[in-house]
């Protein structure tokens, strides 16, 4: 047992000298951040009835919870529209670069048809065991983002605001 502990600390020493931060664990960060952070949005209701949303970019459901939080997890996934029409940005965080925000994200822009994008998202998030628990969330967000891009391209549906008159009735 003793040599096992020494072995682990040796690995840590080697890693640290390379420049890896022994980070503050995610659960500690979550306890600090869950009640009070600049991305927190509380809506629809008083007290226990309201939903808590969170606007940070790395949150797939935009829900304020530990599993979905973009702040408290080392591995996060984000899917966003990428500027040019129909292009979607998929980004995952790199676990070794937690202390370097500029080079933290592994970005890739996808401009394929929806089925191909869905397959690549499923592969990157679930099937390579990166964050298999977020696979459904990632696919859901991908659908929402693609749909919004389609809508923005073709314009918002024009709704006829005239009152609907029923013919032949007084």
């Amino acid at each position: 047992m003793n040599f096992l502990l020494v072995f682990f600390t040796d690995i840590k020493i080697v890693l640290n000298e390379i420049g890896v931060m022994a980070t503050v664990p995610g659960q500690l960060i979550w306890e600090i951040v869950k009640k009070n952070n600049s991305f927190l949005v509380k809506e629809f209701g008083n007290g226990t009835q309201s939903v808590q949303f969170s606007k940070e970019p790395n949150n797939l459901y935009n829900l304020n919870s530990y599993k979905h939080s973009g702040l408290a997890n080392k591995k996060t996934v984000t899917i966003q529209p990428a500027g040019k029409d129909q292009a979607v940005l998929l980004a995952t965080t790199k676990t070794k670069k937690q202390a370097k925000p500029a080079s933290l994200l592994h970005k890739s822009i996808m401009k394929k048809e929806f089925y191909r994008m869905a397959k690549s998202v499923a592969n990157q998030v679930g099937d390579n065991y990166y964050r298999a628990d977020l696979k459904k969330a990632a696919l859901a967000r991908l659908s929402a983002v693609s749909r919004s891009l389609k809508v923005s391209k073709s314009g918002v549906k024009k709704r006829n605001r005239q009152a609907y008159k029923v013919a032949g009735r007084k």
Partner: protein, 404 residues
């Protein structure tokens, strides 16, 4: 034991440096201190009370009259009324908090306890916690700073930044190290304060940008950076919690210069070595040495001793009524089977016997049997008469109707 195992932080080189100057420094122990938002909040709320200026109502307010009550009998209420005549003021109520022009209830006094004393150790704990929190990107982002383009946290810049004299160059420096978006956010956020503070010399509010911490006394950068909106400057030796955790919220975006970063170790010491500048001060120890619960639970030492997960859920079996369900009855009382069997057989016997009896009765009697029955009844009648004592008397001959 793990003293040598400190991660390295690379120093960002600015344009004016030579290409070979970029180096790295070991992380000071301060950044590993425990992060305690509760202590920081408490100390911050107390420290911010210390810069208050007293306010109070004039001591004479409301009493500069010689009012006296008119007493009873004059059809007015009994509060003191202003004496004299010839003006509106005469006869008006005075002195009470309910009166117009009277003094307020509990007039505010300047000897209210405005300042708060906080233990030195608590103040140091809070500062140390705030410094540690500033090195965690999640917390700095959660506080609202724009650090997406910052190359590394904690952000250390080479000492040539301390020699920057013009604000133009200061902005260039910020842009090179990726801190400009945060300063821009602060500049864009200037707005007019809601409320009466507007007219009390607190008209504008803005977000906070980066805090620049320098090491050498009298560095030129103070004047260069101080006019940039949102940017604040501080010397390492005099770090203020109000600047490190504005609003009581941990995680200010801090830009260190190289000399400031190197000084941190000597100012705050480490977990076992006392600090050089603060006599006898040692960094506070955390309650848990390793707070990473997920790693502890999944570690070999724990998993090897833990029982396996119970995947199947044991549900309670449904209760069955023995009086209706034969098998549960037999489980409780095995004799019930034979008892039942006996009962069934007995019932069949009874049925059979009854049926036979009825059948026999319902069957028409044969002529021989009928004749037998008739003769038997006749002979019985005769014997009945002869046996009875009534045959001796003549009176009954009519009824008996049998000739002897």
């Amino acid at each position: 034991m793990a003293a040598a195992a400190r991660p390295l932080v690379s120093v960002q080189a600015l344009d004016s440096d030579m290409a070979t100057d970029g180096s790295s420094l070991p992380l000071p122990e301060v950044m590993k201190a425990s992060i305690r938002p509760d202590i920081v909040n408490f100390v911050h709320s107390n420290i911010s009370k210390n810069s208050r200026q007293p306010y109070a109502v004039s001591t004479k307010a409301g009493h500069q009259t010689s009012a006296e009550s008119w007493g009873t009998g004059r059809a007015v209420s009994r509060i003191p009324r202003v004496s004299g005549g010839g003006t509106h003021r005469a006869g008006q109520g005075a002195f009470g908090n309910m009166c117009r022009g009277g003094r307020m209830f509990a007039p505010t006094k300047i000897w209210r306890r405005w300042h708060r004393k906080i233990n030195v150790n608590q103040k140091r704990y809070a500062v140390v916690s705030a410094i540690a929190a500033s090195s965690v990107p999640s917390l700095v982002m959660a506080r609202g700073h724009r650090i997406e383009s910052v190359p590394e946290l904690p952000l250390v810049v080479s000492d040539s930044a301390e020699g920057v004299e013009k604000t133009q160059n200061a902005i260039k420096v910020l842009k090179q190290i990726g801190a400009y978006p945060d300063a821009e956010k602060a500049k864009d956020s200037v707005g007019i304060r809601p409320g009466k503070g507007k007219m009390r010399n607190r008209r504008y509010i803005a977000r906070k940008g980066p805090l620049i911490v320098y090491g050498t006394e009298g560095a030129k950068l103070v004047k260069a950076f101080r006019n940039i909106p949102g940017v604040e400057i501080a010397n390492v030796e005099r770090l203020n919690l109000v600047k490190l955790a504005p609003g009581g919220h941990l995680g200010r975006f801090i830009i260190w210069t190289k000399s400031a970063f190197e000084k941190l170790d000597s100012i705050y010491g480490s977990f076992d070595k006392t600090s050089e500048k603060k006599k006898g001060y040692v960094l506070p120890r955390a309650k848990m040495a390793n707070a990473d619960l997920a790693r502890i639970i999944n570690s070999d030492e724990v998993q090897s001793v833990v029982k396996p997960i119970k995947k199947e859920v044991k549900r309670a079996p449904m209760k069955k009524n023995p009086l209706k369900n034969l098998n549960t009855m037999l489980r409780l009382n095995p004799y019930a089977k034979t008892a039942k069997r006996m009962a069934v057989l007995a019932e069949e016997q009874r049925k059979k016997a009854k049926k036979e009896k009825l059948d026999k009765k319902r069957m028409p009697i044969t002529k021989e049997e009928a004749a037998k029955i008739k003769s038997a009844s006749k002979s019985w009648y005769k014997t009945m008469i002869s046996d009875s004592d009534y045959a001796e008397f003549d009176v009954f001959t009519k009824w008996l109707g049998v000739s002897q």
